[in-house]
């Protein structure tokens, strides 16, 4: 249980993280000490005063007023300290500096979309510059989600119809995990993402590159990866939640209601935009209808990508 954050807290990678950690360890260790006192006393008494003679009747003892008072006063002082401390850090955690770089975040079942000030939209992989406060302005398209980056010690619920926000300032380059921590349906545990912390220059270069044109199949592969299609669709022929994408192109599809169709551009477009329209036989109607925001370019990319999966 070292202070270096290996057993309890993960390594502190944002400016506020270490403040949260000091508080955490303060509470942890004071609690541990009081707990140890209680348990030691209990074990000692259980051994020392164990019943030796079935007929023994101990005399009542006088309660120690001092002990009782101390036991009330000391914890009260401790909790008041912890309260003020916790409150201060809480306010800091929730008040982004005015010069923060703002990224708009949309949570959907079950992926995250990030929109940069220049209009670039990416999914599940958020690139941010190091050493600069970043503010996320978040909202949801459907149900509650919650945006959590453990390494930065930040979390906030993402609500439909209301903006909430959080902010952080990363202290070292690297990749950090994003979780969704409010239950949101089947793939709640698949609603993951990454924060990629880069130097100013790298970040600027990445942002620039995002707005450039990629070849459609490559763009499609990116979309497929970023939007986590792979959670439900394999590209190597194995069956997961949904049908595999391998060999899908041009194949004849059997539907639950008995209908059939050939998997062409329109079919794939429809499958993605309105998955409930035709349910592939033997599969559940489990694909979320949340991909409506994919642009025409991205859809073309996906189609091109699926074409490559012979």
């Amino acid at each position: 249980m070292g202070e270096n954050g290996n057993v309890w807290m993960p390594d502190a990678m944002s400016t506020v993280a270490s403040e949260v950690d000091s508080l955490f360890y303060f509470v942890l260790w004071t609690s541990t000490i009081i707990f140890a006192l209680v348990i030691l006393a209990k074990v000692y008494f259980a051994v020392r005063f164990r019943r030796r003679d079935p007929a023994e009747v101990p005399q009542p003892i006088h309660e120690s007023k001092l002990l009782e008072t101390a036991w009330i006063v000391i914890p009260t002082i401790l909790v008041l300290i912890v309260f003020t401390w916790g409150f201060k850090v809480f306010v800091k955690l929730n008040s982004p500096p005015p010069d923060a770089y703002q990224i708009t975040v949309r949570g959907k079942q079950w992926f995250w979309e990030f929109q940069y000030p220049n209009g670039t939209v990416v999914a599940n992989e958020m690139h941010v510059p190091i050493g600069q406060p970043v503010k996320l302005l978040m909202s949801s398209e459907d149900v509650l989600h919650s945006f959590f980056i453990p390494d930065f010690r930040v979390k906030h619920d993402v609500l439909p119809n209301r903006y909430t926000s959080l902010w952080f300032e990363a202290t070292a380059p690297g990749e950090y995990q994003i979780y969704c921590t409010e239950y949101c349906g089947t793939s709640h545990s698949g609603m993951l993402g990454k924060v990629i912390v880069q130097t100013e220059e790298e970040f600027a270069a990445w942002l620039n590159e995002q707005s450039q044109d990629l070849p459609p199949a490559e763009l499609g592969a990116n979309v497929f990866r970023q939007y986590n299609c792979g959670v439900c669709h394999s590209v190597d022929g194995t069956r997961i939640v949904g049908p595999t994408m391998k060999g899908l192109w041009g194949a004849e599809r059997q539907f639950e209601d008995g209908g059939t169709a050939v998997a062409d551009e329109n079919y794939i477009r429809e499958s993605v935009l309105n998955p409930g329209a035709h349910i592939v036989a033997t599969y559940p109607n489990a694909m979320p209808a949340t991909f409506g925001s994919l642009s025409a370019k991205q859809l073309d990319g996906l189609i091109a990508f699926i074409q490559t999966l012979e």
């Binding site: 929730n94 008040s95 703002q102 708009t104 302005l137 209301r162 903006y163 909430t164 926000s165 959080l166």
Partner: protein, 133 residues
């Protein structure tokens, strides 16, 4: 309390309480139709509370009843106040730290549309959108 000592509320008291209740009903209607400014809501609630107290004390005979029952009622009422009061602490102060927006997104959009409708020329008017505070 005597042997079968239930208190008997005299008919006269009951009639007077009833008359009082009718009077207060009329009063609340009348005052609510007058211009009472900031007193508008509190007055109506005060009158209603007073009526409720009359019913409790006389029709329900709590005035003459076991004190425990009065305690039960007070505790119940107290917790309604706790529920209401602390919930309002949230809903009234929503957005006191910048991590939550006070209004909903729908409201903001409506306000924006209203602005545009008023002044179609000002395409760029964007009120209080979080993107550009």
């Amino acid at each position: 309390m005597s042997a079968h000592g239930h208190h008997i509320t005299p008919a006269r008291t009951l009639v007077m309480v009833f008359a009082g209740l009718v009077f207060l009903t009329i009063l609340t209607v009348v005052t609510s139709r007058m211009e009472t400014g900031p007193l508008h809501v509190p007055l109506a609630i005060a009158i209603a509370s007073f009526k409720a107290i009359l019913v409790v004390l006389f029709f329900m005979a709590l005035k003459y009843d076991n004190k425990v029952n009065a305690l039960i009622l007070s505790v119940g009422t107290l917790f309604v106040i706790v529920f209401l009061g602390i919930t309002l602490l949230d809903t009234m102060y929503r957005g006191d730290l910048p991590n939550t927006q006070k209004g909903t997104i729908m409201d903001q959009q409506r306000a924006e549309e209203a602005l545009k409708a008023e002044d179609p020329g000002a395409e760029a008017v964007r009120i209080n959108r979080p993107e550009n505070p």
